[in-house]
């Protein structure tokens, strides 16, 4: 059974002029890595809000269709209950600070304190996460005084320490350099290996090609294209829908158009090299 099931979801914020989510249907299976991509304003964040229940519980307005979390209607879940089930790291790192803690260590503890976890366990779990995210040098700092990138990592740490089954992560690397971005992705992958379901909004397509199992392309509030990562990223149609493809896929498509079909559309560097080698060998054999 799907852990999250979205059927014909349509939604409009009370203050927006038109629907921001239109007739979306997606099934999310437990333990898989989902990537949501699309242009600015496509509705990616709104979709995350709907999964986390902030739509309709916080934003109000009418939700049409169904969002089911573990088979139960989102309208019946309470926001407090969902906080242990779905962890949500959102886009803007500057507002993801509790505003009542003096140090990063305490900030990361805040969620566990609210859940009533025992003190010694909190300390060890927070220490582990701090190590995992390599933010030990920040732990005594005031969260207000961190840079955007540091805040982003603290925000991620504050959520994964709560060990939710589902992680919804909205553009977690927007403030980070390529190296830290890689590090974040490997942490997200680690979470997936621990059996968590990942729903990630991200623009960096090369990284999506490397990590995601399934991709949802959004445009104007619609899920215009979805499917296994390999299929979506090798689909020329995706370009027309405004979705950037990894450079290796573009290379494969270009080759094909010029009469040099690689047989597959490669998504990563490794696959591209092997496909080209394969093609070269085939040519040698036939000539």
């Amino acid at each position: 059974m799907s852990i999250i099931s979205i059927k014909n979801l349509t939604y409009q914020y009370p203050t927006s002029e038109e629907d921001v989510l239109r007739d979306i249907s997606v099934e999310f299976e437990s333990g898989k890595f989902y990537a949501v991509i699309g242009a600015n304003g496509a509705g990616k964040t709104s979709l995350c809000n709907a999964i986390r229940g902030f739509i309709p519980h916080f934003y109000n307005g009418e939700l049409q269709g169904d969002v089911l979390i573990e088979g139960r209607d989102i309208r019946e879940w309470e926001l407090g209950e969902l906080s242990t089930k779905i962890g949500y790291v959102f886009q803007n790192p500057f507002t993801q600070i509790s505003g009542v803690k003096d140090t990063v260590f305490d900030e990361i503890s805040f969620g566990l304190e609210n859940l009533g976890v025992e003190e010694s366990e909190i300390r060890s779990r927070v220490a582990d996460i701090i190590q995992l995210l390599e933010i030990g040098h920040l732990q005594e700092k005031n969260p207000f005084e961190l840079s955007g990138g540091q805040k982003q990592r603290v925000a991620l740490a504050s959520i994964i320490v709560m060990e939710p089954e589902i992680l919804v992560i909205d553009e977690p690397t927007s403030q980070l350099d390529p190296q830290s971005t890689e590090a974040i992705f490997s942490i997200i992958e680690l979470m997936q290996k621990k059996g968590k379901t990942i729903i990630l909004v991200e623009h960096k397509i090369e990284l999506i090609a490397e990590y995601a199992d399934y991709i949802i392309v959004m445009k104007d509030g619609k899920a215009v294209l979805q499917g296994n990562a390999d299929d979506v990223l090798s689909n020329e149609q995706a370009i027309e829908l405004g979705c950037a493809l990894p450079q290796y896929a573009l290379f494969g498509i270009e080759m094909k158009e010029n009469g040099m079909d690689l047989g597959t559309i490669p998504l990563t560097e490794k696959k591209a090299i092997s496909a080209v080698q394969h093609l070269l060998e085939k040519r040698r054999v036939t000539s």
Binding site: R52, F54, F58, L79, G80, E81, S83, T84, G87, Y88, V89, F90, N92, F94, T95, Q96, I97, S98, G99, V100, D106, S109, F110, G111, L112, E113, N114, L115, G116, V117, E118, E119, I122, R123, F144, S158, I159, M162
Partner: protein, 249 residues
């Protein structure tokens, strides 16, 4: 920190409160104004022991000097009374007025300096933590701690905005009208800026399970020590003695 200082600072918040409560109550139980006034130097001495003499004294002067002075002036001149001590034209200082002012201000001084001492030797964080144990809602704690973080942040923003508005030609000096006109362009970005982020901060709190049901834990703990009990017993004995003395005399 020396030993005595540590002893005072490390007392449990409610114990500290009982100390100042005892001081404040004693001012009302003891007749006359002398003891009540003495509460101030006692508090100063305790503040000295706790290592915050200067802070305490400065604040005490700021909080008390003017109001005490004005009470004296108003009461000395305008309290209905017969016994005139000093006369100047239609104005006269009367004995009854002075008497009334003495008894009123002495109580104010006693209560205010006790409370001031309490807030000087008790960290807000410790206080709310101990109150939470007594059943105070975590929401109240949240509001308190958040307020104490927001005020300095907002003060910083004020200066940034004031400078920005000055470079944009908003006059902040000169005639009254000019200065009045400067107020809104400074205040309104401050307000609108701080409420703009509250929407997402709600989501932050929800994501951190702030509204989850059930008991919360707190990493920050203040604990009672054996000293607390001793101090409480001592206070109780003093209080009983005070009552007994008052009833018998």
């Amino acid at each position: 920190m020396n030993k005595i200082q540590q002893f005072i600072v490390n007392l449990y918040p409610t114990t500290k409160f009982l100390i100042v409560l005892f001081l404040a109550l004693s001012a009302f139980i003891t007749p006359g104004y002398i003891w009540s006034y003495l509460v101030l130097p006692i508090c100063m001495f305790l503040a000295y022991l706790a290592g915050c003499f200067k802070e305490f004294s400065n604040l005490a002067i700021k909080a008390l000097l003017l109001i005490v002075l004005f009470i004296f002036l108003l009461q000395a001149f305008f309290y209905p009374g017969q016994e005139i001590l000093w006369q100047w034209g239609i104005f006269s200082v009367k004995q009854e007025g002075i008497q009334f002012a003495l008894s009123l201000t002495s109580k104010i001084v006693a209560v205010a300096s006790s409370l001031l001492l309490f807030f000087r030797i008790t960290k807000v964080k410790d206080l709310v933590s101990s109150l939470e144990k007594l059943g105070l809602s975590p929401k109240v704690t949240f509001i308190f701690l958040s307020t104490l973080q927001i005020i300095p942040e907002m003060q910083k923003s004020t200066h940034v905005i004031m400078d920005a508005q000055k470079t944009r030609g908003v006059e902040t000096e000169g005639k009254l009208m000019t200065r009045v006109k400067a107020f809104v362009p400074i205040l309104s970005p401050l307000v609108l800026g701080s409420i703009a982020s509250t929407e997402e901060r709600v989501l932050t709190l929800e994501s951190r399970a702030f509204s989850a049901k059930g008991n919360k834990t707190s990493l920050y703990q203040v604990n009672k020590t054996k000293h607390d009990l001793k101090v409480r017993i001592l206070l109780l004995i003093l209080f009983i003695l005070l009552i007994v003395w008052r009833v018998l005399s």
